[in-house]
Subunit: 143 residues, 2 copies
DNA sequence: GCGCTATTTAGAAATATTCTAAATAGTCTG
DNA sequence: CAGACTATTTAGAATATTTCTAAATAGCGC
């Protein structure tokens, strides 16, 4: 038995269902990514980093598939994209109401509970547009 | 007399002073960019777009110089970088307290006066970090 | 298992940005 | 204003991230 099969373990069925209800076939690659992403706590991860994790866990997967899957997960509401610097996109496993601290020095992200924050005085959107989401990014520097 | 010299016109001295007080030599390229950027109202512009404008105005300038200058202007506090989607960086001539509407359909940016908005309940930053800036991005979709 | 289609893949391509080192242009001095 | 000194600009190569392509593979229903 190969390692990636072993690693999926008894939880595999959970993600199988999760993917199926999102309308995504539970392939080995998507199951492995789901496990890495949702297996333990909220995460902020780049495609490149996730690919490295998968490879390190002996899951054979290409970078293109990681990108494909991340976008499919995002479209299905399983992930959210976070853009904080022009350089790369992070995928956030927390899809609930929340915002972010962004540490400009080391590029780390930290969740801020959405219920803790209130944004007042927002002007109404221009004609013909509706508000899709409000993102608050608190940019940090080392003191 | 070449066109870019002509185009700089009587305002050139203003930007000369503006650049000098920012610690930047008033070169022809920087003067032309300053004119394009600050000549009329607040703007959100990408390096590529600004380069095209300059070329269209018969200002001989390379894309590398546009990038260099934008970063120098930003470091000098004359511009601000705005990141809304991973694809590119916008340079914003409004360096005051404000936020943005971002139209996801066509990529346009619109300023929101910073005094109109209040963000309440912000948690204190993690130990050793200070808040550099709070960015509010209101993402819009067509209705 | 068979066949159908979705998915994955390697590698090329596209896009945005940065780097390099050689040429050019401001500025200061006399 | 010529000469020298250094900052700036430049073309083009390099890098980084993400997307595309079309060929191979793998789920899944029968």
């Amino acid at each position: 038995m190969r390692s990636w099969e072993n690693d999926l373990g008894p939880r595999a069925r959970n993600y199988t269902e999760k993917l199926r209800s999102a309308g995504l076939r539970p392939t080995r690659q998507r199951l492995a990514l789901a496990q890495l992403l949702f297996g333990k706590g909220d995460r902020h991860v780049s495609a490149e980093a996730l690919h490295e994790e998968a490879v390190a866990a002996d899951v054979p997967i290409s970078l293109a598939t990681v990108y494909n899957s991340m976008h499919q997960f995002t479209a299905a509401g399983l992930l959210r994209e976070v853009t904080v610097d022009g350089a790369r996109v992070y995928f956030d496993t927390n899809t609930g109401n929340h915002h972010h601290f962004y540490c400009e020095d080391d590029g780390t992200l930290l969740d801020i509970d959405g219920d803790a924050i209130e944004v007042r005085g927002l002007p109404s959107p221009p004609h013909g547009a509706r508000v899709d989401r409000v993102d608050v990014i608190v940019r940090l520097k080392r003191r």
